[in-house]
Amino acid sequence: MKFTVDEWFVVLLARTIRPAETVFHGFGSPCAQVAMHVARRTHARDITLIEGAMYAVNPDPPFIPPTSNDASLKRGAAYSMRFEEFFDAAIRGDVDRMFLSGGQIDGYGNTNVTAVGPLERPKVKLGGGGGGCNLAATIPHLSLWSSRHRSGRALVESCDFITDMGHRTPSGDRAELGFTGGGPQWMVTELGVFDFPDGHARLTHHFPDVTVEEIRAATGFELRVAGDLRTVQPPSGAELSALRAVDSLGVRRGEFAPKELDRVFDHDPAVGCAC
């Protein structure tokens, strides 16, 4: 059996989820969305999965649609939160993990989903941050992702605009800003995986077909590398089959540059669930 980089990427995102957590993804985030369902069907069956934009609790969607508030996403859910019910839970700290991405992400895990270039006359006006600039303050753990690391434009020295706060902004660190959440914990890209010791991204794993030098060349901030840098753990058969069952429309693939999707790997049936 073969698998592609988008599948491996989603499995790595899924593994940032711990059992029993309450997890949430924002809209327009198919990789994170699929990852939550993969986690719920493999290593973290007791999570409370809150489906972004529907706020449905533990649904079993027949497929993941290309829009985040389609009724298919509440199928099988006994309950859907109201908008304010979800945001209240998140700002009082009851939602353990949220997935965040951005057109730009800096080394402290600040993300920009608002505008590239000067704010007054942006080069590119991005969509906007949804609830992020409050949720990033209070949710205990953030899992960041970028599927466009190789472009060299996604992981930057500093964001042109900080929409959602990471570990440190020019206005101060999280303690100084009075935030109750812990900030970014992991960042998964199509090239590797980062953690955030001391509040700054550090490469802990790389994909086997990517070198550290390639990653350094694509990274705008100073690349810190863990002493025990390893290759990312391959996906198990269980993870791949959960993923393929959940995302039969393949919406996750839309997040990647077409060339990345040519990255195909051989599955080793001896690999168990790495989590």
């Binding site: 198919p30 649609p65 080069k123 969509g127 949804g130 600039c133 209070t138 706060m165 039969s248």
Partner: protein, 306 residues
């Protein structure tokens, strides 16, 4: 403001929108591709409104079309776009990049707090986030407040009171009782915080029938109600119909190329149709029926999105 009297509030769409003034702050119901008040949006454009201040959470073609029609002065949403699938909102993006609209991008939590302040009759509410985010720079009207009990410094956001909320619901009665399906998004909060609620509904039914489905927004918050089948198209209005991805994709392409293509979309689907009956005829009963066939099987449902 006061609650709305209990009386028959059925009007036609043109009359309901005639009360919306140039420069009004308009709250848009629904979100992303679900339950957007598109019939009302098209009528606002047909009536030539200008300088509107739009507020909402995460939106797509509703905001983009109003911007494309040059009806908008200020955008205060948490997101405007077509998600990962169809990408950035072309007209909104172009207007923001050329400075023809004021972008006051906000956050779902902040807007919620601002509406709740109005609902509670308070001048502001505090939020814990926003500090450290450049979103703060887009909102000089925000302040800071020190908690008298803990000493924490929090961002204070002012009460937000839209002039009119445009909402779309699957069911309503002539008094304005509305039944919605989840997600309600901010519709309930908009209904109680806005000066005036104008509702379009898929079907006007008896009060008993709305009550049997469950009243989400009560008549005493609604000023006008009008029956517009497929009034959310090309957005979805479950349980009636799914969103029309093909139509949205066509819109996005026209809006991306701008100029004549975008003018052509507006001419065909907004200015060129006198009312929503003509709009439905234009989309075609076959296509509309297709969007309503989502419950027949997972294959049918999924097929709409392929």
């Amino acid at each position: 403001m006061g609650l709305q009297p209990h009386r028959n509030k059925v009007v036609d769409l043109a009359a309901a929108i005639a009360d919306v003034r140039d420069g009004a702050m308009i709250a848009l119901g629904g979100g992303l591709s679900a339950r957007l008040p598109m019939a009302a949006v098209r009528e606002v454009i047909r009536q030539g409104r200008r300088d509107l201040h739009l507020v909402g959470s995460a939106h797509s073609i509703d905001v983009d079309l109003l911007v494309a029609a040059e009806a908008v002065h200020r955008c205060e949403e948490s997101y405007v776009g077509f998600e990962q699938d169809l990408g950035l909102a072309p007209a909104y993006r172009r207007a923001a990049e050329t400075g023809t609209i004021e972008v006051a991008e906000s956050c779902c939590v902040t807007i919620l707090a601002q509406l709740r302040a109005t609902e509670m009759g308070l001048p502001f509410l505090p939020v814990r986030g926003v500090r450290g985010s450049d979103i703060r720079r887009l909102h000089p009207e925000y302040g800071e407040v020190t908690c008298p009990f803990t000493g924490e410094v929090l961002v204070a956001v002012p009460a937000l009171k839209p002039d009119v909320a445009l909402l779309h619901a699957p069911l309503g009665d002539r008094y304005g009782n509305l039944h919605l399906e989840q997600p309600y998004v901010l519709d309930e909060r908009f209904a109680s915080a806005s000066m005036r609620v104008v509702a379009t509904v898929e079907r006007l039914v008896s009060t008993e029938d709305v009550a049997a489905s469950g009243v989400t927004i009560p008549a005493h918050l609604v000023a006008a109600v009008t029956e517009v089948p497929f009034g959310a198209h090309p957005a979805s209005c479950y349980p009636n119909y799914a969103y029309d991805r093909e139509h949205l994709s066509g819109y996005v392409k026209a809006a991306q190329s701008g100029g004549e293509d975008l003018a052509g979309y507006l001419k065909t689907y907004v200015y060129g149709v006198a009312d929503e009956r003509e709009y439905r005829d234009l989309i075609g009963s076959e296509r509309l029926a297709e969007l309503g066939r989502w419950p027949e099987s997972t294959v049918d449902w999924k097929g709409l999105f392929q």
